[in-house]
Symmetry: C5
Subunit: 296 residues, 5 copies
Amino acid sequence: MIVRNKPRIWELAFALRGSVLTHIAAPLLSLMAIAAAAVWIEQRFHPLPEVEAAPFTVFGIALSLFLGFRNNAAYDRWWEARRLWGGLLSDLRNLAREAEIFVRDEAPRREMLEVALVFLHLLKGSLRRQEHDPEVRAQANDLLDVANPPDAALDRLGRLIAAALERGRIDGFGARTLSARLSSMALQQAGCERIAGTPLPYVYSLLIYRTTYLYCLLLPLALIGPAGWLTPLFVGVAAYVFLGLAEVSEELSQPFGDHVNALPLDAICRAAEISLASHLGRPAPPPILPRNYHLT
Amino acid sequence: MIVRNKPRIWELAFALRGSVLTHIAAPLLSLMAIAAAAVWIEQRFHPLPEVEAAPFTVFGIALSLFLGFRNNAAYDRWWEARRLWGGLLSDLRNLAREAEIFVRDEAPRREMLEVALVFLHLLKGSLRRQEHDPEVRAQANDLLDVANPPDAALDRLGRLIAAALERGRIDGFGARTLSARLSSMALQQAGCERIAGTPLPYVYSLLIYRTTYLYCLLLPLALIGPAGWLTPLFVGVAAYVFLGLAEVSEELSQPFGDHVNALPLDAICRAAEISLASHLGRPAPPPILPRNYHLT
Amino acid sequence: MIVRNKPRIWELAFALRGSVLTHIAAPLLSLMAIAAAAVWIEQRFHPLPEVEAAPFTVFGIALSLFLGFRNNAAYDRWWEARRLWGGLLSDLRNLAREAEIFVRDEAPRREMLEVALVFLHLLKGSLRRQEHDPEVRAQANDLLDVANPPDAALDRLGRLIAAALERGRIDGFGARTLSARLSSMALQQAGCERIAGTPLPYVYSLLIYRTTYLYCLLLPLALIGPAGWLTPLFVGVAAYVFLGLAEVSEELSQPFGDHVNALPLDAICRAAEISLASHLGRPAPPPILPRNYHLT
Amino acid sequence: MIVRNKPRIWELAFALRGSVLTHIAAPLLSLMAIAAAAVWIEQRFHPLPEVEAAPFTVFGIALSLFLGFRNNAAYDRWWEARRLWGGLLSDLRNLAREAEIFVRDEAPRREMLEVALVFLHLLKGSLRRQEHDPEVRAQANDLLDVANPPDAALDRLGRLIAAALERGRIDGFGARTLSARLSSMALQQAGCERIAGTPLPYVYSLLIYRTTYLYCLLLPLALIGPAGWLTPLFVGVAAYVFLGLAEVSEELSQPFGDHVNALPLDAICRAAEISLASHLGRPAPPPILPRNYHLT
Amino acid sequence: MIVRNKPRIWELAFALRGSVLTHIAAPLLSLMAIAAAAVWIEQRFHPLPEVEAAPFTVFGIALSLFLGFRNNAAYDRWWEARRLWGGLLSDLRNLAREAEIFVRDEAPRREMLEVALVFLHLLKGSLRRQEHDPEVRAQANDLLDVANPPDAALDRLGRLIAAALERGRIDGFGARTLSARLSSMALQQAGCERIAGTPLPYVYSLLIYRTTYLYCLLLPLALIGPAGWLTPLFVGVAAYVFLGLAEVSEELSQPFGDHVNALPLDAICRAAEISLASHLGRPAPPPILPRNYHLT
């Protein structure tokens, strides 16, 4: 995630980090070149058929609405994912406090919190489809061979609660409280898996990219007459707005991806470690800070 | 569901799988033929009445807004259905863990989980209005004769909990926890039945398809003058955008249908089987993977 | 509710059932007649003042946005009402299962379910402001004299729970579970009463209908010049789109009304009876099916 | 709140009650007069600079979008407030039933319900910033001196529950159920105070009213040429649409105000009294009906 | 937060407090100066290339939609933050009442409420990234050295509950009720931290500001012909609408910032102190009132 204030005037002109310009440079320049070629052909050889601007108005507005819809859906996914991880952070903190209230012994309490932290790291790894950190691998080793490691971590947490209940370390109230906490964590996990595993319908991407390219390819027909050699500039602006927004939506719709707009899961995991440190009797690690405005 | 990354440039031009082009090809070509016929009549015989583009701008924008509304509603249904199945997956996992915490014996625990899995498969079958798999039929045989098989499966699960309470296998805390889980599953089931049984109001479909066809039929009146033989192309583009979106909305509004954009319920049922395998003492089956980008 | 698949091509042209055409035929034809009269006056007697199309573009887009807003709000009411009845169906099923888990005797259990079914029928009747069915009247006779019959039915259900607790038929866990179910039913009831009793603000209807009529009355001024005798056609199309959507919104905003787009409460009540039949030891009645695509 | 069916055709032309026309008459007529003056100056003395309609199209659409946003936010506040009061009504009914289930004596039960009714009336009074009714003042006299009377009423209800628990009139299950009900009432109260105390950001009002007036003042520049003496009419229509919607949003954003579109809190309080009457052993008062279509 | 009624007519013309005019004056005047320079060059030296208005219509509408989206997202953040603080206020009031019901002694009850108030102040301070008030520093001194002071305050509250349970001051029902309250407070805290720590994606800001400046810089090309020396005025209006909305969105998206539209956390903290005063046996402090319409 890029953590940066409102862009200043010179950043508007030059900032590339966090911008989509680098991603859409190739199609942008191609479309501008095609527009330039059209002007050149028109002026050098043969007049192209000219079209009034009005059909492009409708076309452009329809396109804006559909891009707007897709962007909305993408942002909602991104923000829901952030909300789910905020809920997980709060779940871990609450688990620590509820364990302190309801679990009578230090040892099983700590074990539960350790497993909960491993769960969080495993969830991060599996959402990002990354190798897990060596430290996590060490703690979680027998959890890594299964199909769904974070789910297995929650199973282990469940078995710890079951054992504590059986040995009388918690009573019925405690068991109900802790198992409700566990099921809240599982619900957030299922929400994250839903977002990671269910992309925005592919048919929207096809429809929108096809329409955008058609629009930018046909646009010179309407502009050559009134705008002449300014045509490539206008085509460039239109392509920048429409392809730029399509690209941003693409990125934000995958909040667990590996692009700069992805959610800072490392920082949230660290925040959980900091909050649980005092419950585990450890010194709190330092928070993760953005590097070059980029928080991972 | 189509599981595929952002379309590449050549896919944009040629991809048909997951596209709506095949569904709307017939009306698209008909409308283009009518437009071509209009141009031919105009140029060969008699000038048609010509209309300025401005009324079509308003008309087109109104149409875009209504299509946008219907598309929003359709996508919300699709995403809510996905959310409900994510909730069911999480419910099954939580049921397994809660049974481990609160139910004192292995046998009733396993029986509950088996019934829960049968419920999930029966729900999938009844939402899709499909024959159930033979394996499911075998396990659920006396549940298939009733009016609402998944509801009957939950009834059976309820009776298992009642029996466990009566025989002292669970205490009050456990009964309350498990019955809350059961009612959460029933709520998600009712949500799925709501989406499957209540289509988007038919009156919208009539209004939108009628308006779209009217628009595409009248459009040549505005385009013949300025665009000449490009008219069929522009009519084709407009029809592609409007009919395409109407068709996508139609499909997504039925998330349990049998089209390629339907939700991957098979894969979600399998994910539940994988998660419950260790609780049932079975080896986990392999996950279902997309075939030719299509996940069922 | 109309239960029908995507309209086929000939249905688009001719379907009237479920369409709004019959409701808006009178104003539609009047507006077209006025437009025709304007063309006749213009061509026969005296040129009318002509106006460019541009102000109508803004006016039309503003109108589309406001109609779109009202339509959104109306659809949300319709869908929320459907959601509430889905919740009630799930509540009744859960009540049956919870009674089986927590209530020790058959007789009080059945009595609770009977009262819950009466509640559902009374709620349906009072939302629709209809006479209750004779069968319901027979079961609910002393509940009909009060100001709010469904609320009185829930009061009776509450008294049954209180009696069961006092006589030791349920314990504290059961009382808490059943009273939570009761309060969930009451919440859904209050939601339905809210939708039935609070129409969309009247001021929107006035603003939107006034603006729509103004638009359609002034539109000929912009169209007579470019469109001539096609003016009434275009006015008809505009009136169809705008009045049609206004009328649809009007109907959907009253999901408990007596029009064809109203919610199928009879069918949902029957679904509840089917689900509760096995708990009451009765044969399940047949489901209600749509007649001529219309489900009541 | 205005309770009235779809406006008939003559109401569209003449209805003033519930309309915003009376509120915006002064600016509307002023803007029309300015437009008329502009036409007069143009035709009598000196041509004014003329501007094409296109910039006004963009300007008008942007304005429509911003008004649409503000209207949406205002309607959401209104509907959320209605939802909160529906929740309070349901809370009071549930409190009555839960008291019947869990509280062993008649006297403390009735006392709780009386305090809950006083809470509702005090909340109504403080949201509307009105004098309380004399009857309420009599019952609530020592609650009126504090900073937040409804909060103090809930404090009293809490103390009644605490006393009942201490004296063994309720057990732990009952205390938990009733205190959960209490906290639900407090949450709805905080929601109402949020809406009443946090207006829509003032900066939006400034931005939107300024833009609307600018638009209506500049509009004659675009219309004088094509529309001549129809200019004031068109300016009037634009001002009616934009100022009308701004005014409606203003009213609906304050659902507890003293205008005709405010929520009918008197009627909801009465509905609560009717529902609680049988629990209090009193005859139910008559419901409050709309007078001249106006429900308070 | 600015607490002020609907702007009157003279406020529209002159109000600066709460307006964005002061924030966008510099770019606004620069863009108008550039437009004036373009007119001067055009008329004095050399005709600039002229462009029809139609491409600017599409461009402007697209821009309006994207600004509208960002504005929506920003307002949602602001309103969600307000909702979270309303929830916290209600949590503190409920904590006080639940403590009165379930905690048997005065001393631990008061201690809990004191810690809860400290939590609220610490949360306010850390969201605003401000120095804490000296009074809060005094009460919270050992909580200030940790990484997350409000989280540490909740930990302390958790330990108070644990101690009360161990010493028999509360029973299981009480422990469960109070720990649920604690976890509700933690959830709201995590929500606030989410909003404070996760800005709107930077890529939107870049895209929108870049597009807005491009639009305002290119706009003279379309206006010089028809509007002449009115061009700077129209550019100014467009820049006011678009930059104004962008700036408002920027501010509202940071509801815990130090601008006049930030949420009035001081006033909400004071409202909590007022509500808790009677439970703590203290006189209630006076509420915080707006100064010069500004509530902090």
